[in-house]
Symmetry: C2
Subunit: 355 residues, 2 copies
DNA sequence: AAAAGCACCTAAATCGATTTAGATATTTTT
DNA sequence: AAAAATATCTAAATCGATTTAGGTGCTTTT
């Protein structure tokens, strides 16, 4: 019942050759090293019979690589990152690698620990959606020789290869769409982790476009934690103060979901009472009533590019423009949640009718 | 620019002691082995200065364990499994372990490869949601000494510790709820991978309860792949044949989402034209219109139990009832999508009005 | 002063696979 | 038949950390 591992040596002894021969045979280098066909066959047969499995720790120790890459995101249960993870997993599998996935919960200390941990495990490289405030530490890792690619979130002039989307443009397109549709009292729901590039750029793009039209924006930061509760309270308060926006931009899918939930509870109608737009498209956005206007990201492209860049680093291949920032474009899917409805006083009064 | 690793030996040489001392100090065994305080401090200082990171491959090779566990599911981008992954990750982190997550796409061959691969990597144990037809192979791994816990999906009398939910009861409760509400023409949407215990038991429970009432069930297997297209076609066909069910049970969240999407496209109203119920609760089910009746699983409990059992195996601790099947209970969340509406001819005719 | 005790540390084996320099036996060349 | 060439394989170092059985020099005991 005990785990009895079969090693190279066991096979070598059993066949009556040296470990070297077994190793060479197992790695397909028999011909190259002039191992006789007879010996080769005997080794392979015995390895199969004994159910030999090469110990990858020993192999990794000797070879200096592990065919494992690390993926660090803020929360693997967020569907955006889950999709990223799945893409990376498939890409890794295509080159015989595995992925160790870790979540940081936007905690810088946790991120630091995880990077250290993955390095100690000798991962070949790391794909990281960082929560750090700046790139200083990461730059150290990178120039230390750690193959590293940043995705989703980036830093200005970090010098670390990064693959992100055009968040500014996403926010801008949303604002332009809302403005063009006739909305006039915009709000943006952002996160307390507002130093994060994605959040920051989305908000900046949104503000920029509205400011072009000379419109002031109501900006609200939702603290990490009970997002749903905070959003609910916010909308309540704004309503009581008679200070409701006529359109809202939620900077990510979590916030959007919280808004939908709150509006449902509070009886706020979308888009009649308030339009809703957000970043990150989810499957259900397209078929619920109302369908939700959202910016979608090219997840597959992000992963393909990031993975490719990482592989180049791992293989130590020089590559043109390494260290560059790659900015992919987004698509704004306009749906019912941001359809403009001519407001009437009677409608406004229906809000919170259930309360 | 090159990765210059700092080893135990480097520190030893630099301080002027043997590797043994450094190792003992680093592992907090200095006192136990009578290392002088002065030496201890000097070693620690030097380790910090040189930014020493113990090589976990070497450590794992020597110690025989890696503080890494494997998690194999069918698709990490499915929100149910993403949530599972997150829970397991946190549990593992609490004991200093990492998780390697892999997806099988319900492919038995891929599952086989992944298990082999994880074993070669010397993971300490595996948590598996298996796609196999029977437990034969898995039993071999298990009795071979591989710490293994099955979750979500199980096998009869496998002898392998398993943590699942009461799928039969879930299906049964749904059917009873529908029947009690007044529905009479039930359908169940199941998957082509119908040998899988979850799917099988859900359908069995559903059928059992309806049969108790003497009602026949329309059962449809949706082939893997283009689920959304297949569901859409199915509903179209059934409608044309004038053979629409008045209530539907989708055996998992993917199917339910496909149904919502199709109904939206086809103009089928829920629950007026057809009620919808499903397994796996998703956040958005509770606030969309109509809200969706769904069975929710105690994900956190599943993970806690599975992880605990795995740890017992890894630590080789005898534990009462190891190898047993643990069946957790589910909760049926009754919502608007299965509210009974007295049918009228005029309403029925509205279906497909847009086509 | 020899023996014993103690504090502090070292040498070396070990985990399992890879790789290289060279050993041995056989065959071919001259 | 001796030298050279070839075919086939082996020994041993290596990756880096852990662990255990001792070793060294000092102090204390008798």
């Amino acid at each position: 019942m005990k785990k009895q591992r079969v090693s190279l040596d066991d096979i070598a002894r059993s066949v009556g050759v040296s470990k070297a021969v077994v190793s060479l045979v197992m790695n397909g280098k028999a011909e190259q090293y002039g191992i006789s066909e007879r010996t080769r066959i005997r080794v392979l047969d015995r390895a199969r019979d004994l159910n030999y499995k090469p110990n990858q720790l020993a192999r990794g120790l000797r070879l200096g690589y592990t065919n494992t890459i690390g993926l660090i995101v803020s929360d693997i249960s967020n569907s955006f990152y889950a999709a990223i993870a799945r893409n990376i997993e498939d890409l890794a599998a295509s080159v015989g690698s595995n992925v160790i996935i870790c979540s940081t919960d936007e905690d810088i200390e946790k991120e630091r620990k995880l990077i250290k941990l993955l390095r100690n495990r000798q991962v070949d490289g790391i794909i990281l959606s960082s929560s750090q405030e700046n790139a200083e530490e990461l730059r150290n890792y990178y120039s230390d020789g750690l193959p590293l690619v940043l995705i989703d979130r980036c830093f200005e002039n970090s010098g670390i290869p990064s693959v992100v989307v055009d968040n500014f443009n996403g926010g801008k397109q949303i604002a332009e769409h809302l403005s063009k549709s006739g909305f006039q009292k915009p709000m943006v729901l952002t996160l307390s982790t507002s130093h994060i590039s994605t959040v920051k750029h989305r908000v900046e793009g949104y503000k920029y476009a509205w400011q072009q039209k000379g419109v002031k924006i109501d900006t609200v930061e939702i603290p990490f934690g009970d997002i749903s509760g905070a959003v609910s309270e916010l909308l309540m308060t704004r309503f009581k103060q008679n200070f409701m926006p006529d359109c809202l931009f939620a900077v990510n899918n979590n916030l959007a979901t919280a808004v939908l939930q709150s509006c449902n509870n509070l009886g706020i109608r979308i888009p009649e009472d308030m339009a809703l737009t957000c970043f990150d498209d989810l499957p259900y956005f397209s078929f619920i009533k109302p369908s939700v206007t959202a910016v979608s990201q090219p997840i597959s492209d992000i992963c393909t590019q990031a993975f490719e860049i990482l592989m180049h680093q791992i293989k130590q291949e020089e590559i043109e423009g390494l260290g560059k920032l790659s900015v992919l474009s987004i698509v704004l899917n306009i749906r019912d949640s941001s359809r403009f409805v001519i407001p009437s006083d009677s409608e406004e009064s229906k809000i919170l009718k259930d309360k």
